[in-house]
Symmetry: C2
Subunit: 283 residues, 2 copies
């Protein structure tokens, strides 16, 4: 039977978008400009890949699980905040993202910093409403999210990315940056979904390996696609691995991700399809 990933993603995306809309204060609530800025970036055409992974991981453990929407929303709010701060003039200084003006271009730099700050706080606040299955607790979801968000997670990855001169790039540094900037959020998304569904220790460990691998693949494919268009970022991994080397790494890691999934007993079809799609995507 062919799994219809497109329909699956559309349905989950709608679910996530509705929950994000419920979680974010309305633009009519004071401070209105801040809430407008927060909503602008959250609803700017993201594919909702991380929250969908969270929901799919929960379903792989327990097909009836309905409780993964809070961590799914939290991870997308956190992701949105990191994009706003990454785009700031003092960081990557990007004027557009997904074809739209970035947050600081529309709302000014101060408001962009503050919108990001408030989105991070909201991400954690949403976790307070989650209902993890036994033997997990809210404190474990919180720990998961805080680790992924912190100085040894996405923030650490961004620091290293900015600090690393192109000529100093090594395979180890690239792996560090990819792992922290990208794989950490994939990992937290999948693990929180699995925890909410009551995953066993062994299932959680397989899903963790799956998530880390596809996170790395995601970033490798990003660099390959960038490189194909315009010679690429000078900090791209292509400088180290070359296009063929990067493709080979991505294939190996995709295989390892599938091997990890194969050890799970639940319905892993959505996760498999998501991983396959990530490896072959063209934009």
């Amino acid at each position: 039977m062919m799994f219809d990933l497109k329909t699956y993603m559309q349905q989950k995306r709608q679910l996530v978008d509705r929950a994000l809309n419920d979680a974010l204060p309305a633009e009519s609530i004071s401070p209105t400009g801040l809430h407008e800025a927060m909503r602008y970036s959250v609803f700017s055409g993201g594919k909702r890949l991380r929250p969908i992974l969270c929901l799919a991981a929960a379903e792989a453990i327990d097909p009836e699980c309905q409780g993964a929407i809070e961590p799914a929303v939290a991870i997308e709010l956190l992701h949105s905040y990191t994009l706003i701060h990454d785009d700031l003039p003092c960081m990557d200084d990007d004027d557009t993202r997904r074809g739209k003006p970035t947050n600081h271009i529309v709302f000014g730099e101060a408001n962009a910093v503050l919108a990001g700050d408030a989105l991070q706080a909201l991400a954690f606040g949403v976790i307070a409403g989650a209902s993890p299955a036994q033997p997990y607790e809210v404190r474990q979801l919180l720990d998961e999210l805080a680790t992924a968000a912190g100085s040894r997670g996405v923030v650490g990855g961004q620091v290293e990315d900015m600090a690393c001169a192109p000529e100093d790039l090594t395979p180890e540094k690239i792996e560090f940056i990819h792992r922290h900037k990208t794989a950490e959020l994939f990992r937290a998304a999948v693990r929180m979904g699995a925890m909410v569904a009551g995953a066993s220790t062994s299932d959680l460990s397989d899903l963790t390996e799956f998530a880390t691998r596809i996170g790395m693949v995601f970033q490798l494919v990003d660099d390959i696609l960038d490189g194909g268009e315009e010679g690429g970022d000078e900090r791209s991994c292509l400088r180290i691995f070359g296009v063929d080397g990067a493709k080979r790494r991505a294939e190996e890691m995709t295989q390892e991700a599938h091997d990890a999934l194969a050890r799970l007993r639940g319905n892993t079809m959505p996760l498999e399809a998501l991983a396959r799609q990530m490896a072959v995507r063209s934009h």
Copy 2:
């Protein structure tokens, strides 16, 4: 019996500083520059007022309570992050704080944004280690901290403060800004301490009133002291209330804070002394 506030504060400060040191990754841990920047601002001579209020609130409910150190640390990490971001060139553009160069002057703007981001994540992460007494749960501490940190808490206050032109200041706007920028963190500090100690609903409500009042007093006294030195910030409340009016408001609110405390049965001596000190402080 005279309560020795100075010794009390010294002892608590040491306790808080040790716990902050334990919570923050060592400077030797990668990314080393980020951890250095985080530590620089956390250990830059703060009085630890908010964490001490948290500990004192817990003691007022249960003199034996040892569990308030996690929320105390969390609130100080959160406070430190807001100071780093408030000082940024795109915000208040301050070069010094407490007589030292601000974070972005020492580490650069990008690292200051990221150090603040990582401190916020760490504040939430520390809450995962808390052990609230019945009937409270980690999720309630988390909700408390997220609300205080979010778009309707400190971030909302900073947005309104920056958006409000001096000529548009009204008593209501000043109250909004003071309440959100300052009182929200006092409130969360005191409420989390009380929750960890197992406060009754009625005690929690009295302590909430106490905390909100002294938070407002703290900000009023700040403006009075600023105004005395150099004519003051043009967004100071003195423009609306005048020095005498601001002093009168601070006195009224201090009285209301003491009235709220008087309804509690526990040992409220430290909280009383802290409130008195805040009303009469000279720097």
